[in-house]
Symmetry: C2
Subunit: 129 residues, 2 copies
Amino acid sequence: MNGRMRIGELTERAGVTPRTVRYYESIGLIPPGEREGQGQHYYTEETLARLRKIDQLKKLRLGLDEIRDVIDLYFIDPSGVQAKQKVLVVLRQHLAEVDQKIRGYQQFRAELEDHIERFERWLEEKKPR
Amino acid sequence: MNGRMRIGELTERAGVTPRTVRYYESIGLIPPGEREGQGQHYYTEETLARLRKIDQLKKLRLGLDEIRDVIDLYFIDPSGVQAKQKVLVVLRQHLAEVDQKIRGYQQFRAELEDHIERFERWLEEKKPR
DNA sequence: CCAAAACATAACGTTAACGTAATGTTTTTA
DNA sequence: TAAAAACATTACGTTAACGTTATGTTTTGG
């Protein structure tokens, strides 16, 4: 248990599937595990730490592309200040987007009620008896 | 101009593209245009009317699958009562779903604000000086 | 040393409603 | 009658983040 591990241990400790690890490698979220020749890949503790950090950021609802934009900062700047500042920007964007969405849905909701009312009145007028 | 038309006239009058007409045929939203042998398709005024009705229902934000569930009623029952009753049911479902979505986004919004606050406080504490 | 794990790679599936080529055939018009 | 429209058909692309086969290779345990 020195830090060198294969994908099985990595995924178990990180709580993800091998598919996820390979997908993250493919989009550059984590570095590709080193391999000797053509065989299996070996991962380090830092990759594990990255996976855990990714998981944290996903809980903040960052997309993988957004995570990719900030993840390196966490490992370049140990204080975490820069990373958190950047995440904060993203979170504020999300807030604006969510507000936008909520307004959109509320608008739609109002239209819906309007339609519903119209239908109800139309059916009422048709049915008296 | 007797009611028999090819796809060009149909789409122009209905305000849709040929792709849309063929797609609707493929999912059974409108009857397939009749063809003589192997050549082109011919459509009727009723198909045009269906396309226009579909357009109306889309404006109520019904999905094509939902439209498929009610569209026939409009042409079977000329009074429109049954169709509108069924649409009303769908609209009420949508209302419930939208309310659900709004609540979800509001929940997310609250969490977001919470996260943002936390980040802000953390950064404040780190930076004094 | 061989069977059983573990691993690697490729590729399709998931949502909705068409847009957009690409290619070939039919109808219209000059 | 030949070029120009119009039409038909097929099939990939669009979003996000992997899940799920399917198939083949490597490593490990007894």
